[in-house]
Amino acid sequence: MLPHMRYSVFKVLRDGLTSNRHLQPAWRDAVPKPHYDIVIVGGGGHGMATAYYLAKVHGLTNIAVVEKGWIGGGNAGRNTTIIRSNYLLAANEPFYEWSMKLWEGLEQELNYNVMVSQSGIINLIHSDAQRDAYVRRGNAMILNGAGAKLLSREDVREHLPFLDFDNGRFPIKGGLQQPRAGTARHDAVVWGYARAASALGVDIIQNCEVVDFLFQDGRIAGVKTTRGDIKADKTALAVAGNTSRLTSKLGFRLPIESYVLQAFISEGLKPFIHGAFTFGAGHFYCSQSDKGELVFGGDIDGYNSYAQRGNLPVVEDVFEGGAALIPFLPRLRYLRQWAGICDMSMDGSPIMCVGPVPGLYLNAAWNYGGFKATPASGWCFAHTIARDEAHPLNKNFRIDRFRTGHLIDEKGVGAQPNLH
């Protein structure tokens, strides 16, 4: 194991003065052992956070995280980095608020700069009905300790003076703000958890694709991988958009469909946006990165896909939404565009549970919003795996809710995953 070097200002100075000659890898690139207590499939944010909390909170360290590519190369490194806890439903809001609290202390916890910036989020209001809905949501947030502020049109103007307030079709009437929301550096979150988990003894195994499962006495007893069989007492899936591909090997189907979500980056501009904001009349959300680029996105591409690249109709749609809100947006240059595969569920909410097969633990269905969930997902999934029962915060994320009718449908659109 590497000595756990603490990062500090003095280390930065020392490394700078010695031309970074003494830099060490932040975590061990491990070779698979034949057996672990727990194998976590998927080295995204959720898999890595789960490994860390299993080791830190539950004292379990004989753990491997197996990743088919490189850690953070999936949605964890592709998202638009917004973190928030502004949900309405009682099954969701306490979970996301716990995540927000973990974000608030994450850098100290991991001794790693994940660049959490609590610059706030504003959901814009364009109609009376929308204001009523946001007042209700804001009250739910306040009841759960997340905090919320109803902004008048003039308040919004103070924060975001460049918006098209008098747009002919969608004038801006106000906003719902969560001041504690913000952004974090997406792939640094994976690296920070990886470094901290590795220091506690967790094996991180890259370029290792799980292709099937091992069975013993009617239980899952580990995984078959491109780097050989790995036995495990407990096998935990955290593979986001690829979950159905793995469970199809077990002969069961999930209430999940995979869709592409795209992200867009403009040229760098002087800082003029503090925090994130969302359009209330179309699907468009935007923030400005520390490098000055506008980072934005909108709807998922509307049809099932595993292609990890987007198509033009949604590009057009996102830019139309953006231009309706930010009049100068069409005059900017755009540097990059990419996409990730989202595990969209039938009610738009996650699944995190023991089973449904003995020896298996499932963490999936994060839709397009699982980055903000990363710390709490790791916290709760670690509890679920270690104790063989759900944590109170994920007890509603049961897979059988679709059978019993206890759906968690924030938008109320029904079993139509491309509309959530």
């Binding site: 690829n242 159905s244 591909r245 199809s248 189907r253 999930l254 209430p255 999940i256 469909e257 995979s258 509307g302 049809y303 099932n304 896909s305 595993y306 292609a307 198509n311 033009l312 109709p313 057009e316 039938m346 679709f402 059978r403 079993a415 139509q416 995953p417 491309n418």
Partner: protein
């Protein structure tokens, strides 16, 4: 992505609305296991990485429902049929 509508010819996917998976058949509500069968029908999906059958509506064209076989890894479209030709009478 171009969808080759049997009636209109190859058209931009922008002209179509996607409805979702087209492999399921609505179960018999009078059957003994109807509750379970409807759960599977409404909520569970194969969600394949590869060939996938989906419903598409040609709203900006002939306004007919199509059944499209498309590869979810490459977006290549293998076959497009009019839904009405598929419906069992």
């Amino acid at each position: 992505m171009l969808i080759d509508c049997p009636y209109c010819g190859a058209r931009d996917s922008h002209e179509f609305t996607y409805r979702g998976d087209a492999t399921g058949t609505r179960p018999d509500p009078a059957a003994e296991n109807a509750g379970e069968a409807f759960h599977d029908y409404v909520y569970l999906r194969d969600n394949p990485a590869g060939d996938h059958l989906g419903w598409w509506y040609h709203g900006a064209g002939c306004r007919q429902w199509l059944k499209v076989s498309r590869n979810t890894l490459t977006h290549a479209i293998n076959a497009v049929r009019l839904a009405r030709d598929e419906v069992k009478s």
